[in-house]
Subunit: 109 residues, 2 copies
DNA sequence: GCAGTATTTGGTTATTTGCGAAAATATACC
DNA sequence: GGTATATTTTCGCAAATAACCAAATACTGC
């Protein structure tokens, strides 16, 4: 974690990337793109929102540097830029599992 | 990443945890807590905001399951619940590095 | 050029978030 | 009990976010 070396501007950079993933639809998008590049119309079906909404979510991911785009014909094909997101989500999932265990203990005994 | 197995409610759970880290101050807090437990008053100096603001940020981290609290005397001592955040931030930092390289190429070369 | 498809952008509205000040709560000490 | 310290909660407000619709843009093929 490189403790203590973290100033505010570096924290802001980190937060910007994290923020770009802090929405259910964008989590779904990144997960879907883990299987390879996809066009907006197909991603729209994955998310189930209006295509303009999905397009904006993709723009957020792009400006954070998580995905890149290539236009071929009428379609914009989005793909993941980073391979490390698997670890990222593994950590997130482990927190959720731990949290649900903790809540169970607290409620049920 | 367990592709394709991600439904909306699991994505929402992930997003909730990610969201709790999606703020510069909360990134700073988690980084500081990487060095061991700290009380709110000390964390307030790290972040440099009003103590009520810091308290609220800590509450967000707590409800997401990232930290836990123990009261001793007048102080509330917060500590990290999960060890995996190092990987998490490593991934985030690598995205930022890659992104800044990409932007440099686009602007300068 | 015109029609058709894919995507982005702009406008509007509703909701959420973040902040500090002030009030409330909890504990320690005399 | 009364005062001091540490923390959380409440309140009001400003700013950011997210959703959809409609309009604009970009490309393809006739």
């Amino acid at each position: 974690m490189v403790r203590g070396k973290l100033n505010k501007s570096k924290a802001a950079l980190r937060a910007m990337v994290i923020k770009s993933l802090a929405h259910p639809s964008r989590v779904l998008l990144v997960d879907a793109l883990g299987g390879g590049e996809m066009c907006v119309c197909d991603l729209t079906e994955v998310v189930g929102s209006d295509i303009s909404t999905v397009s904006k979510h993709l723009a957020v991911l792009k400006s954070a540097g998580l995905v890149s785009v290539e236009k071929r014909g009428l379609n914009q094909f989005y793909r993941l830029n980073c391979l490390c997101l698997a670890d990222f989500f593994r950590c997130v999932d482990s927190i959720n599992q731990q949290q649900s265990r903790t809540l169970q203990k607290a409620c049920i005994g």
